[in-house]
Symmetry: C2
Amino acid sequence: MQIGVNLSFCVKRWVTPQLWAPIVRETLDLDLVQFSFDLIDPMWPDDLLAELAEELRSTAKQHGLAIHSAFIGLAHYTYNQLLHPNPRVRDAAEAWLRRAYRFARLAGVERVGGPLGAIASRVDGEEAESIAEVDYHDLVARLIRLSAAAKAESLSELYVEPTPLRREWPWTIAQAQRLSADLAGAEVPWKYCLDWGHATFEPLYGRYRAGMSPWFKALGDSVGMAHLQQTDFQFDRHWDFTETGGVDPAAAAAAQREAGLADRPVFLEVFYPFERDDASVLSAMRRSIAQIKPVFA
Amino acid sequence: MQIGVNLSFCVKRWVTPQLWAPIVRETLDLDLVQFSFDLIDPMWPDDLLAELAEELRSTAKQHGLAIHSAFIGLAHYTYNQLLHPNPRVRDAAEAWLRRAYRFARLAGVERVGGPLGAIASRVDGEEAESIAEVDYHDLVARLIRLSAAAKAESLSELYVEPTPLRREWPWTIAQAQRLSADLAGAEVPWKYCLDWGHATFEPLYGRYRAGMSPWFKALGDSVGMAHLQQTDFQFDRHWDFTETGGVDPAAAAAAQREAGLADRPVFLEVFYPFERDDASVLSAMRRSIAQIKPVFA
């Protein structure tokens, strides 16, 4: 299996390719990267983005790194994106993604993905079981349009990352299957990025229904990749593997292989508090990769 | 003392004034708000921002809420802002702030602030004691320019929020004093927003030097407000006061009064995991405000 790293650990630290490329290649001994839009905001000016895309492309090549995909990070996920209650804010999120696709093409990155968005909460704190049908249909129409936009930028694959929130979509396997069916005719295929801290979130799914294997098996060919993290199943922790949690890397690799998904890449995606010192982050990343790489490779 | 709430607890949940205004006014029984740019990105289109600013202004008025200020949130803080290694990215961050000032003016909000930025980390993980002089002088020049931009938008006050990171500025009292002196001639005054989870961060300051009172006393008139949170002093937690930590609200209020800063407002600023359920967030917020309001008011 291909194992790579999402640049989430570099956010606000090793923010240029000249900084993160040697860390990924030499310190972590990896050659597969998932770029994070926490390092570059697609809303920055066009000419700056063009310069940064070229820098990303050439520095990755120089260090022998393949950039598999570019993913939405913490910054953009903070907003409600394509499901904001105001349709004009949804339009702004759609425009953001078009700019993200364009940046990816300029950087030579063929695949883009992330979570789709969240409806608003209610004033009384009650949560509906899922988003309304009218919001779902609007979302599907936007994803179809976005797929055409991705085609125009020569992208090869787009990803939806399911998140464990009733206000987002999809958060159940059935919702994911329905969305896949509704996106079947998209010009650039929409696949899933499944995360070991999302499908396993017990407060939402319950202790006995939480788990990654059912998602792998039910979604099968629709699965494009997995995000790996350590977590306690009580929150979406995005810890590294120096932390104690419920994800056993060997069992995670076995679950993916058993579902017939050994050809889908896996990316470690971990976040550190901004105030944690750099040396301990590098040390923890090195020890995490040393632990999981032999299991997945 | 005036006690209010930063809308950080509303991020990705109660994202429109129609949703958060009744929660602040009725559920929390507060009338003072600090708006968060995690709810509205100043990079959204001009006409949309104008519409959202008008909605913010009129809904706040209708609910009897004063919007004291608008602050940078998690989304923008994720980037390196005014200290990014690439000067053109710094320019983009400066442009972002100009748009934030414009939005504030349109919404009738007179004050804007937040952390300033972070230099990049080194590949070897070593951390310099502080940013380079050349970066500091560039930062000061940008803050002077931004003050002029704020004047053009009729703002009355700007804020720097010190953060406990060597790669940001200022992280020591001496740095903050130097910056205040260098910004003394600014057209709109730059003041400090001090945070109970920043000045108290023991891994950086050491157990016996960490603390808020020295900052209050040394910076005096330069202090514009305080951010309140519960924390364990080991990370910048931004917990609410249903959590167990080291901040005693009564002692916090006393420290601010003793420093002669009883006329500076205090804002509770807490963040919840996106996946936590809405009802428990509302309940925890209500209990937190009930605990701290009598102490500060």
